[in-house]
């Protein structure tokens, strides 16, 4: 019989001096996703109304961006339709001095934070890797490699604290991203350094086609927090009020010096992974339908109406505001972006190397030749037009 097989082998007296480092119980997530909508919880009417307006805008934003892919104006768009409550809450809970670290799907969180909706789309349109100034907006570039931005959030929050500045970082990641090594390293660093960071996992059921059950065997993603020594919170990701409360609590906790929190938003990706994906290969219509009935916007609207905070006029006004956002996006996105080829060499290094200077000169010459050829053929065709016109 091996030691492992001996009954109670590990229930003998602990080794001398051993104590558990932390009581795990307070770190454990709720058994059921945390909810506020549909309960008689005391909710701030102003926050509810704000969430509603942003949610209406967010839904419209997703629709418009998806439409723009169909017109070839966006190279690709990973829609967050169905996840708007989590995204909008993430965009609203931060103070101006705080930092947001979004992944490629989290455009809406940046827009809800107040970023220019067209600048946010640069990466996905393909005119540059990032269209906004991260320092000015305190939004890190949308991150495409999974989970690699999470340690950045930890480092930034840590640096801010070392400098004595009151800054919290909120980083977003998908359920698939929690399997990456960087997720582990980021959570571990954050907990050890007691960094003011909030990790928001949007568990939308799938990593492209792979369902959560094939991604992890953990009881929930929020449970992962306990192993690092930080609290985990399980939240109904389609309940905007619950998301706002849970994230707000986590941000406040971090600000008070309480360290990091992992928040899992249980939600669903209504659209395909991106416009290039065929979701019918890995999920059923019934499943999608069931989630549509738990739609974040409908849930919130019902709540507002039942609390007497919204009438038809209010709903129309919110829709008009959203329509304006969409019209602005259309107008600007339907213009060709201004591309500056020489920018390719502009910011590789603070000072370009001799080799890059030589390559830039090569491209400059190619562009000049192109421009000259275009000008010549222009004059020729004008002359031709004039000549022919005169002959006739």
């Amino acid at each position: 019989m091996t030691v492992l097989e001996q009954p109670g082998a590990y229930r003998l007296a602990p080794p001398p001096g051993w104590r558990p480092r932390l009581d795990p119980a307070p770190l454990l997530p709720d058994a059921e996703p945390f909810r506020l909508l549909g309960t008689d919880a005391d909710l701030d009417p102003e926050t509810l109304t704000r969430l509603y307006r942003e949610l209406v805008r967010g839904r419209r934003y997703n629709e418009q961006a998806t439409a723009l892919t169909k017109q070839g104006r966006l190279a690709v768009y990973p829609s967050s339709a169905g996840q708007e409550a989590a995204q909008v809450a993430a965009g609203l809970v931060l103070a101006e001095r705080d930092w947001l670290f979004p992944s490629y799907r989290d455009t809406l969180s940046a827009v809800a934070r107040g970023l220019d909706p067209v600048e946010v789309l640069s990466l996905l349109r393909g005119d540059w890797h990032s269209g906004y100034d991260p320092r000015a907006t305190r939004v890190a570039p949308l991150c495409t490699p999974l989970a690699t931005h999470l340690p950045h959030a930890v480092g930034l929050a840590h640096a801010a604290r070392l400098k004595g500045e009151d800054v919290v970082a909120l980083a977003l990641v998908g359920d698939g991203g929690t399997s990456e090594g960087d997720f582990h390293e980021a959570l571990n660093f954050a907990a050890v350094w007691h960094a003011p960071v909030v990790f928001l996992v949007q568990n939308n059921g799938f990593a492209i086609s792979v369902p959560l059950a094939k991604q992890t065997a953990a009881p929930s993603l929020a449970h992962k927090a306990v192993g690092y020594g930080m609290p985990g919170r399980l939240v109904d990701g389609n309940d905007a009020a619950a998301m706002h409360r849970a994230l707000g609590d986590a941000v406040a906790h971090a600000r008070r010096g309480g360290g990091p929190t992992l928040v899992e938003a249980v939600t669903y990706r209504i659209e395909a992974h991106t416009n290039a994906d065929d979701a019918t290969r890995y999920r059923t219509d019934d499943e999608v339908r069931a989630w549509r009935e738990h739609d974040p916007l409908a849930l919130l609207e019902r709540e507002l109406r039942s609390r007497g905070l919204l009438d038809d006029a209010g709903a129309e006004e919110a829709a008009r505001d959203a329509e304006e956002l969409a019209a602005g996006m259309r107008d600007r996105m339907n213009q060709d972006p201004e591309l500056r080829p020489m920018d390719l060499f502009a910011d590789v290094y603070a000072e370009p190397t001799a080799q890059l200077d030589a390559q830039a000169a090569q491209l400059r010459a190619e562009l000049d030749a192109e421009a000259q050829a275009a000008a010549e053929s222009d004059t020729e065709s004008q002359a031709e037009a004039r000549g022919e016109g005169g002959a006739r």
């Binding site: 990032s130 100034d133 991260p134 320092r135 570039p141 480092g155 840590h158 090594g181 603070a350 190397t353």
Partner: protein, 370 residues
């Protein structure tokens, strides 16, 4: 334009005032001094890595920093290379200047995702808004009897990644001067420390370190008119020894120490090869896909009409780094360098005359003119 003549390691050609304070100092001590001075000069400089605190690093390079600057500025991190570099990215985003230590060359590999996907391109993807003033110190290379994963020459991976600077000192003065420049740089610098030179001592003045050329400048360590040895880091002493040995046979080898792989100082290298007409690139890392191929191609492009022979390479074999008891068979030594020099078609070519400089000169009787 950027040729700078410097004394060979241990040289004595500096002003007599500074010479008084000179004493034997190892490269590891000079790097330690550079870190201390950088941290003292700029509160944004933070040293972080595995065992860099109380232990002072496994090579003692960070010795004493935690005592002097506290744990917030010299931080023992969890054991996670991606985490170390990834958090350094965030710290740099917030205005700090992290200097991270990767414990050994082969243990930096888990951090390559952060390095390549973020550190190297953050400035570019954000149009200059987020520079990455991160220094990544990597003890690299063999010759110290390390077991598996402790002797890799990983410079080719770094040099192949646009957006990184890649430097490697071979002298005590350069170890100090280049590291100060790396920490002060607003761009990420991979600072490759040749482990087997860590304990090599030279006369150097810690209180008044001499200025050295900056990042991106090569240095002619030895003048000679017969052929150019192009090398860096751990292979510099090998090449200097080979040059000394070749002299007995009447060949005067010029030795160029690159010091920086990226940016690459093409001018200094090309000027030397144009003078000598022959070149051998020497490095420890594998030859296939190694820096030698790139350097040989550039020399050929720049100096084709001056070349008397193909540019040759002396590199490590194209094998995973061997076990310590066999490493001497793998590492390019003086003999292999001299063999390559002997293969530079001395009999078929002609020799340039008169411009060898220094102790150089033309080959008496060799080649026979054209």
């Amino acid at each position: 334009m950027s040729t700078v003549d410097a004394a060979a390691p241990g040289g004595t050609d500096t002003d007599p005032g500074a010479a008084a304070a000179r004493k034997p100092v190892s490269m590891a001590q000079a790097i330690n001094r550079a870190l201390r001075d950088a941290m003292a000069a700029d509160p944004a400089v933070h040293v972080m890595g595995e065992d860099v605190g109380a232990l002072g690093g496994v090579f003692r390079v960070t010795d004493g920093l935690v005592r002097e600057f506290g744990e917030d500025r010299c931080t023992d991190t969890p054991l996670a290379e991606a985490g170390i570099l990834g958090t350094a990215v965030g710290m740099a985003m917030y205005g700090l200047r992290p200097v991270v230590e990767m414990q050994f060359d082969a243990f930096a590999y888990p951090s390559f995702e952060q390095l390549i996907s973020h550190v190297a391109r953050m400035r570019n993807r954000t149009r200059g808004a987020l520079p990455m003033p991160v220094t990544i110190r990597v003890p690299y290379g063999g010759g110290i009897g390390g077991v598996e994963h402790h002797s890799d020459s990983s410079e080719a991976y770094y040099a192949a990644t646009p957006g990184l600077h890649v430097v490697t000192p071979a002298t005590v003065a350069d170890a100090y001067g280049l590291l100060r420049a790396a920490v002060a740089s607003d761009d990420p610098v991979v600072f490759l420390e040749p482990k087997r030179l860590y304990w090599a001592k030279e006369e150097w003045s810690p209180e008044a370190p001499e200025e050295v050329p900056g990042i991106g400048r090569a240095v002619v360590r030895r003048r000679g008119g017969s052929a150019t040895l192009i090398t860096y880091g751990p292979s510099l002493p090998v090449c200097l020894a080979a040059a000394e040995a070749a002299r007995e046979e009447g060949r005067h080898l010029e030795v160029v120490d690159l010091r920086s792989l990226v940016p690459f100082d093409e001018e200094t290298v090309a000027a030397s090869v144009r003078r000598t007409g022959r070149a051998v690139v020497v490095h420890e890392s594998a030859g296939f896909g190694g820096p030698g191929g790139e350097i040989a191609a550039r020399v050929t492009e720049r100096c084709f009409h001056f070349l008397e022979a193909p540019v040759l390479r002396v590199a490590g074999f194209d094998i995973p780094y061997p076990p310590p008891m066999l490493e001497r068979h793998h590492l390019p030594g003086v003999e292999r360098v001299l063999d390559a020099v002997a293969r530079l078609q001395w009999e078929s070519g002609w020799t340039m005359s008169g411009d060898g400089g220094g102790d150089g000169g033309t080959e008496g009787g060799e080649g026979g003119g054209k």
